[in-house]
Structures are given as structure tokens and as C-alpha cells.
């Protein structure tokens, strides 16, 4: 940066002046915009009268943030970005070998995940680690798995599905109902839940085969809502909004995680703690995630996976090459739904309780956001996006210090959606193709070159 701004030391002064001017303007605009929304609040007093409560302090914070933000952007961020761009253009296109970390990223990531529970356990002890393993570990991995599942439908086949949570629900309720009513174990029900979800994926697939774009999105959205409404209203079976509780826990091939003499702790001579079950669940969902990734990577190199991506690029061309687009779409729906079902049955077993409230549209939206944010089609990008979005939400819960700033009533989680939205917008402006915008080809003749996101399509069906 220094090299570029040096010749224009004289203009630095004018830059500051310009920044001050723009920042003042922005501050005034912010004041005008927020003076009625934030500066004044309508409230009721003790006598039930409507009164105006001024909040000048809060308004001042808004204005100051706007001023400082605009100043920083004009004075520092913009020159820095132009300088960086100039430096980038000036530098010859260098093709340095990717670093060790970059080359072995997925292996290192898996290793880190495998080592995560023991490290956390040794750092925080059995009780203190619950939060990190459960809220941060398992929770994020569930979303990684869901997003990887949806990625098959949206990222690869290019079919915009807004009702993905329906398959999650089918998996969860399949496990809940079948394990309570028939006493089947998790290991039987996991594949069964996957098959049932896949079946529902095909049921959804048939009516939407001829739909494209917006219409497809609306119908899948409706499908998600129908499933949720059925769960609410079919009270004899699902107990409606009360949900189903007392869902049996998962056993380690018959060894239960409880205080009984045959329990895990007794057998291995360990002190009784719920942490072992959580660690077990962590490894289980990690395994399920790896299975999803493995299958997705394999499928992409098989004709069916290539046909999905071709479908995303151009459906008519697919048909002209003798590809049956009906079965191709249905398999995408079915396999995507199957992974949703796996995740659902895991979710039910982990919570011990399912209710329709867990399967609202917002969940579909979050999963879809993760896929889009990660870069459609890229497993690594999606995993990073899941960590950022789900981990970010969990992190907000932890930010107690914010209470000292904004007062004791302040609950950071409530701002989650606002922050989500802002993060999404920023992300889409900075990297419109998601974290990982390029596509890795599934085969190569001479050298593997990633395909820039500007050539790939988002799909339209």
C-alpha cells in the first residue's frame, strides 16, 4: 500500500477531508433515518397511557457507528483495496505450488475433528467439555451433513429445493415412532429412515419434474409445510405439537450409555458421566458426515453425478445426449433426501425428543443458506459455511459481555437473524459464488484445473 500511496502524499490530506465529508453526510443520513425508529420509542406508563421514551444514547451509538464506519471505509479500506488490486494486476500470474496445508486440507481437517473430543476433554474436563462437544461439535456437524445432502439437489443438480427440512423431519419421526412403538435399534432404523426419506424424496420429485426455477421453489416450499402440518395435525400418531418424547438413546452395538451394570462406564471402569455419550454421538455424526462426503465425491465421478451437473448446466442438451432427465432428477431428490433422513434420525436419537417446531421453514432456509454461502457444489466451502453460520449462532449465546454494554435485557441470540442477514449480504457482495467459488472437475486428461465459478450455472429447474 505504501508504495502506491507514496507518490500522492499530498493527496492524503484531501483524502482525509473527503472521508470526513462523506462520514458527516452518512452520519446525518443515519440520524434522519433512525431518529424516529431508534431515537423515540412508544411505550405504556403505569396508567396505561401511551408515552414517548427518548433513547438518545442508542441513537448516538448508531450515528457514531455510521460515521466511523464510513470514515474508515473511505479513508482506509478503499485505498487499500485499490492498492491491493493494482498490486495484484502488476504481479505476474504466478502459479506457485499450493502449500502443504492447502493440498492436504481435508485430511488435516478430519484429523483435527477426530482429535477434537480428547483435546476438549483434557482441557475442560468431562463436565466442562459438554458445551463444546455438543453445541459446537455435534450441532455443527448435523448442519454440515444436512447441507451436504441438500448440496446434491441444489449444488449439483441445480434443483432449488426450499422444503429440504421435510426429509429431515421424515427421518426424525421415522426413528422416533419406530423405535418407541417397535423397539428397533438405531442401527436398523438409520438405514430405514434413510430409505423412507428417499421414498418421500421421490414422492416430491414426481409432481415437480416439469417445474423450473421459481415454480419448483414454491412447490418444494409447500411440500415442506405440508409435512410439518401433517405432523402437527395427525395427533393419534405424532402427538401433534406436544411432540414425541422418551426416544431411546443409541447404544454402542448393544452397550447402553447409562448407569446400569452393563452400561458403558461400568464396563470400561470409567466414572459415570454424560460426556461419554456426547463423545460417542460426536464420532457417530462425524462418521455419518464422512459417509456423506465419501458418497458425494464418488457419485460426482460416476455417470449419475456427471449427469446431475450436466442437468444443472443445460437440461435440453442432456436430453439430446440420451440422458433420461426424469430418473436423473428423481435420483438427485432421493439421494439428497436420504442424507436428510440419516441426519434426522440422528437428530431424534440425540435430542430424545422431536416436535414439529424443529422442522419449520427457517431450518430449510438456514440449510440452503449454508449451501449457497459455501459455494454451490463445494464440500469444503459448505463445511466452512456451516461452521460460520451455526458456530456463529452458538457463539452469540456465549457473548454475555454484550449484556454489560447493551443492558441486562439484551439477548444476543435474538439478533441472530439480523447478523445472518448482514453476513449473507456482505458475503454475496464480496464473493458472489460463495466461499469456494470454483468447481473441481471430475476427470482430466493432462492436468486438473479448477473451473472458475463464472462458467458454471446455478441451474434453473
Amino acid at each position: 500500500m505504501a508504495t502506491v500511496t507514496n507518490p500522492s502524499t499530498a493527496s492524503t490530506g484531501s483524502l482525509t477531508a473527503k472521508a470526513l465529508r462523506e462520514a458527516t453526510f452518512t452520519a446525518v443520513m443515519t440520524f434522519l433515518m433512525f431518529v424516529l425508529f431508534v431515537g423515540l420509542k412508544t411505550d405504556q406508563n403505569m396508567r396505561n397511557e401511551l408515552i414517548l421514551v427518548p433513547r438518545w444514547g442508542l441513537l448516538a451509538i448508531f450515528v457514531i457507528i455510521a460515521f466511523v464506519g464510513r470514515f474508515a471505509m473511505v479513508a482506509w479500506l478503499q485505498p487499500w483495496r485499490t492498492a491491493r488490486k493494482a498490486a495484484k494486476d502488476a504481479a505476474p500470474a504466478q502459479t506457485t505450488d499450493a502449500g502443504f496445508v492447502k493440498r492436504n486440507f481435508s485430511k488435516l481437517a478430519i484429523l483435527a475433528l477426530v482429535l477434537y473430543p480428547p483435546i476438549i476433554l483434557s482441557l475442560f474436563g468431562a463436565q466442562g467439555s459438554l458445551k463444546y462437544i455438543d453445541n459446537f461439535g455435534i450441532q455443527i456437524l448435523i448442519y454440515v451433513m444436512l447441507a451436504w445432502g441438500l448440496n446434491i439437489v441444489v449444488g449439483l443438480a441445480g434443483l432449488l429445493d426450499l422444503g429440504y427440512v421435510a426429509f429431515y423431519a421424515v427421518g426424525a419421526y421415522s426413528y422416533a415412532l419406530l423405535s418407541i412403538n417397535f423397539g428397533f435399534s438405531f442401527w436398523i432404523l438409520l438405514p430405514l429412515a434413510g430409505i423412507l426419506s428417499a421414498f418421500w424424496g421421490i414422492i416430491l420429485g414426481f409432481p415437480v419434474l416439469r417445474l423450473k426455477g421459481d415454480y419448483l421453489a414454491i412447490v418444494t416450499l409447500a411440500f415442506g409445510e405440508i409435512i410439518r402440518l401433517v405432523l402437527i395435525n395427525w395427533q393419534d400418531v405424532t402427538q401433534g405439537t406436544f411432540g414425541i418424547s422418551g426416544i431411546p438413546k443409541i447404544t454402542l452395538f448393544g452397550i447402553p450409555f447409562d448407569a446400569s451394570p452393563h452400561g458403558f462406564a461400568k464396563i470400561f471402569n470409567l466414572p459415570m458421566s454424560s460426556a461419554y455419550y456426547k463423545v460417542f454421538l460426536f464420532y457417530l455424526i462425524l462418521l455419518l458426515c464422512l459417509l456423506t462426503a465419501f458418497v458425494t465425491i464418488r457419485l460426482r465421478r460416476l455417470p449419475i453425478g456427471r449427469a446431475w451437473e450436466a442437468l444443472r448446466e443445460d437440461e435440453i442438451a442432456c436430453r439430446s445426449l440420451g440422458i433420461n432427465t426424469v430418473t436423473t432428477k428423481l435420483t438427485a431428490f432421493a439421494i439428497g433426501a436420504m442424507f436428510g433422513g440419516f441426519a434426522g434420525s440422528f437428530f431424534a436419537a440425540r435430542q430424545g425428543f422431536v416436535s414439529p417446531e424443529s422442522f419449520v421453514f427457517l431450518e430449510s432456509a438456514v440449510i440452503l443458506s449454508i449451501v449457497v454461502l459455501g459455494g454451490m457444489g463445494s464440500l469444503t466451502g459448505i463445511a466452512i459455511a456451516a461452521i460460520a453460520m451455526v458456530g456463529g449462532t452458538e457463539l452469540l449465546r456465549e457473548m454475555d459481555f454484550l449484556k454489560h454494554i447493551f443492558g441486562p435485557d439484551f439477548t444476543p441470540e435474538l439478533y441472530r437473524m439480523l447478523i445472518f442477514g448482514l453476513a449473507m449480504i456482505t458475503m454475496m457482495l464480496v464473493r458472489p459464488r460463495g466461499f469456494v467459488g470454483s468447481r473441481e472437475p471430475t476427470a482430466f486428461l493432462f492436468e486438473r484445473k479448477n473451473v472458475s465459478g463464472s462458467f458454471t450455472k446455478e441451474g434453473h429447474g
Binding site: V295, R298, L299, L302, P303, I304, R306, A307, E309, A310, R312, E313, D314, I316, A317, C318, R319, S320, L321, G322, I323, N324, T325, T331, R439, P441, T442, A443, F444, L445, F446, E447, R448, K449, V451, S452, F455, T456, K457
Partner: protein, 288 residues
């Protein structure tokens, strides 16, 4: 003409009989009959809006014709009625492949991947409909290698081999046309239908294309049916020309015959029907 028709019948690969296609009040094709003979390059020409692309869409199953019959006769004697088949079946079972007037490539896939997608059905079978492939069986690996070799062959033939690992959307226009033809050939067709393959090409690219088309016919035994506007291309490479105007056939024969047909000249020069006679006289006098 009738004597010619009888010899045609013996080795016709595609027979279009009394084909009509109506869009609302518009008769896009009206009672069209013609044949494509095996091992020949047949050109379908006509002014803009004559219904050429519509004929292609009927042959390849993208449109269901209002009336008429389209039959395909394969080398081994199997025959298919294309108007009864779905678009993907026409390529998969009847072995009729096509390209599009406005190029339709998988722009985000590499050239190699484009050609592998074209071999979907063969690879699908080899991968045991995904199951065996997912388990990593050797049969799929072999088939996959074979498919890559076939792709390499076509990339070389279309002189695209040095761009094999680049995205198709990154190619210049002329190369995209050649890739689309190579991709259609990877489906292993007996009849290849090309919709204006030379449109937008410069003379050098046009020559390359002619070479590619001739070698497709000579080396691979594929018959060709092509729509073309450029008369010089048509005259140079086609063995047989069918001329359409307003959805009806106005001429049919070898290039020399069609070139001198007064109705064709009238159609291309935009002469009224009653002036056709005068044009015919002029042509005949010119010939004498």
C-alpha cells in the same frame, strides 16, 4: 425422379413421411416427405422461418408432430418410429444425435467432461447403474478409461485436444461448434443432425468444419443431415439437398439440380409465385 426414388428406398436411413407440425394457427411444416440415405450428407435448406429447425425437433423427439411418420432404419436392421419416442430415447435407442442452432454446451464442465456426459448410457450400464461404481468395481474403472479414450479420440479429431481440461464456456465460438459436434458423436450415432453448424464461422473455421464432417462420414460411417444457410458449404459437401419454404418441400435432389431449380432461386431471391415461370425460362436459356 421416380427411378431415383426407388433406389433411395433401399438404403434410406431416415424416412420422413407426410410430416405436419402445427403451432396454433401456424402450419410450421406442411405434409413434408423426404429421405436421408445411409452414408450420405443430406442438407436441409430454406429461407428463415421455413421450418427447418422444427423438422429437426420433430425428428429428435423434442416436438410431437401433428401428423406424419418418421422412421429410422439402423444398420443391423432394427427400425424405430421416432415420432412415438421420447427425446432422450431417440438418441439412446434409435441412435440419432443432434446439435443445436444456438450452441448448448455444459459451459461449466470441462471439454473432457462434456464428452463423458455424452457417454452416459454406456457408462451407466458399466457402473451397474451406480451401485457397482459406488463400490469401486473394476468393470467401471475399465469402462471409464475406455470412455476417456473415446473422448480423447474426438478431441483430437475436432482439434480441441490442447484445451481438454478447460471449461467449455471458455472456448471461442468456432471451437464450441466443433465441441458440440464431437459431443454428439460420443453418443455413437448412426445419424447425426446438425443445425446450422457453419453459422458464425469464419472461412478458415468453415473449411475445418467441412473436413471434420467429411471425416465423420468416411471414418465413422455416420450419415449426416444438416441445416445450412451458407450455399457454398451446402454445394461443397452435400450429396443430396432438400429445400423447404413455408413448411413445404419445394425441391429435392443433388446440389446441381437444386441450384438450378427455378423454385429454389425464386424462394431465395424472394420472387412472387407467378414470376416463377419467367425465372424458369431465364434459367433454361442460361443453360442453353
Amino acid at each position: 425422379m421416380s427411378a431415383m426414388a426407388s433406389t433411395m428406398n433401399n438404403d434410406a436411413i431416415l424416412k420422413v413421411e407426410h410430416l405436419s407440425m402445427r403451432f396454433g394457427g401456424l402450419m410450421a411444416i406442411n405434409d413434408l416427405s423426404f429421405e436421408v440415405r445411409r452414408g450420405e450428407i443430406t442438407a436441409l435448406i430454406g429461407p428463415n422461418g421455413a421450418g427447418k429447425t422444427t423438422v429437426f425437433n420433430c425428428i429428435t423427439g423434442f416436438y410431437k408432430p401433428t401428423m406424419g411418420m418418421i422412421s429410422m432404419q439402423q444398420k443391423d436392421g432394427k427400425s424405430f418410429f421416432l415420432e412415438r419416442m421420447a427425446d432422450f430415447e431417440v438418441t439412446r435407442d434409435a441412435k440419432v444425435a443432434r446439435t443445436f442452432q444456438n450452441i448448448r454446451l455444459f459451459s461449466g464442465l470441462t471439454l473432457l467432461e462434456n464428452l463423458l456426459v455424452a457417454q452416459h448410457n454406456a457408462l451407466m450400464k458399466a457402473s451397474g447403474y451406480t451401485v457397482l461404481g459406488l463400490l469401486g468395481f473394476k468393470s467401471y474403472k475399465d469402462a471409464s478409461k475406455e470412455a476417456t479414450e473415446k473422448a480423447r479420440y474426438w478431441l483430437e479429431k475436432a482439434s480441441l485436444i490442447d484445451r481438454a481440461d478447460d471449461p467449455a464456456g471458455d472456448l471461442p465460438y468456432g471451437a464450441q461448434r466443433r465441441l458440440e459436434i464431437a459431443r454428439a458423436m460420443c453418443t455413437g450415432p448412426e445419424l447425426l443432425c446438425l443445425d446450422e453448424p457453419a453459422a458464425g464461422l469464419n472461412p478458415r473455421e468453415s473449411q475445418e468444419l467441412n473436413k471434420l464432417l467429411r471425416s465423420i462420414r468416411a471414418d465413422n460411417g455416420t450419415s449426416l443431415l444438416l441445416i445450412e444457410h451458407d450455399m457454398s458449404v451446402v454445394m461443397e459437401i452435400s450429396d443430396h439437398v432438400v429445400v423447404l419454404e413455408y413448411g413445404q418441400k419445394i425441391s429435392d435432389g443433388d446440389p446441381a439440380h437444386v441450384k438450378n431449380d427455378p423454385r429454389v432461386i425464386a424462394a431465395y431471391l424472394g420472387v412472387d409465385d407467378d414470376e416463377v415461370e419467367t425465372v424458369r425460362h431465364e434459367v433454361e436459356e442460361g443453360a442453353n
